[in-house]
Symmetry: C2
Subunit: 305 residues, 2 copies
Amino acid sequence: VLGIGDDAALLRGGSQQLVWSIDVCLEGVHFRRGWLSLKDLGWRATQAALSDLAAMGARPLGALCSLVLPAKTTRAMLREIGSGQADAARSSGCPIIGGNISRGRELSLTTAVLGETASAAERSGAQPGHELWLVGDVGLAAAGLRILRARTPGDRVGSLSSAEQTCIAAWRRPRALLRQGEALASCASALIDLSDGLAGDSVRIAEASQTRLVLEEEPLRRVLRPELGQLSGQFGCDPLDLALYGGEDYALLATGPSSQRPQLARPIGHVTEGSGAWLQPPPPARSVRLRDGFDHLQRRAGPSR
Amino acid sequence: VLGIGDDAALLRGGSQQLVWSIDVCLEGVHFRRGWLSLKDLGWRATQAALSDLAAMGARPLGALCSLVLPAKTTRAMLREIGSGQADAARSSGCPIIGGNISRGRELSLTTAVLGETASAAERSGAQPGHELWLVGDVGLAAAGLRILRARTPGDRVGSLSSAEQTCIAAWRRPRALLRQGEALASCASALIDLSDGLAGDSVRIAEASQTRLVLEEEPLRRVLRPELGQLSGQFGCDPLDLALYGGEDYALLATGPSSQRPQLARPIGHVTEGSGAWLQPPPPARSVRLRDGFDHLQRRAGPSR
């Protein structure tokens, strides 16, 4: 009804439930300037915020962005950020209808997103007997970030392998799985987006639902992208660690009865009585409990095993 | 419907228009730690954000807060901030239903507020012939900030005069005029909150409405609080300058036909054909054009005359 320029934005009300979330993308914490272009930054901050709507199965209505800009920010730089935000807004059908702007020492984008849904998918509905479903790829963004952290400034992109380029793009240009979230909302018993990693977000569903989530190692390994296998050798780690403890892919993790499993969902485990998230290797090895490898205040992901 | 703990907050939809805004309160830009307690900070950030709902005549539905906390922040400090936010939420009937938390070098609170209204009061409806109305006090917060900036750390509050204490409290503990905003929405042709100062925000109504706002010096001086007169002597400035160029009181400025003026509104001028905001001194002096003394990127207010 009313966009940028007044004291607030106006939207038409509706009979559906409103879904509302806020997310920050802060220089020195969530990104460094050398890791991505300002256009990528605008895209990434917007998609990351939108992923919370996907995780509730909501259709986006609009976004507000509060920008903090260091004194050295030029108009051209601001246009770059805005251009990435506009691309993300267009591609997800979520107009940016207002915001705020302020000086500050560190560049940051705080994005609030509002959506609507007839029936929101919460984290708390997982039930024993349900399957565990994965939608989207996991571990690629974590691998991409690892490459970016290790790169010397000035390295040419040409020197990167195809697998490296894929993973860097996964980190720089994530995409909120909004359509998939809406589809899952009608059949899933619990839904979350993997912003913090498969291990930590599985723990979160288990806690909210007061059940145990069992990730089965074999089907999980089968859904991992081949790039993870290629790069894990280079990193000297197991590709599974990238999937379990690497966040920011914004894939979706859901639970639901097998009879309701939609085609886009890949089964990677099941729900039982109990608590916590567990990784079940092929027999005769015993299951191991997964810890939430992510602390929002430390901003550090790591393996628990 | 659903508060803190899931991917997003859920609210019941309704038939009214939604009013949505976001605001940031950032260390080193909007405040320094020595100027207010963490409890005051939580209160102030929440009220400042809510003031945008008052400026649209909206009733608050809820707030989200994205917190950025430096590494040295303790749990006790976080509780202090939260306690100020909770006080502000209670006193304004606006529950805080979600948010986000992140590490960062500088403390900041970014607050998004959502409200609803049957008919929002925009900035763009001022018409020639309408009166200009002030609701609430102006200049006190600017005077308070000036005192805080000049104080040596460790100065005891006991050494402050009553006028100084009033002004410091006006800056530390502003109150969004939500009830007054709702009352004005039904009779005002334009409405704005004075976050940036009477001069700048008058220019904003004039621009949005394509009219001229004339602030009459005599009635304006009459509504100024006596504390401004007492302190302006001390500062060596005109009390009018504090009112015109000092923001953050979160008073409301409105226009409307005199027949509709509510009792809480004090007339301080009128709307004519033309453009810009002008100060009209008593005759025979000529009117002077007021400039927007506030630049969000410079974060600096100053006189234009």
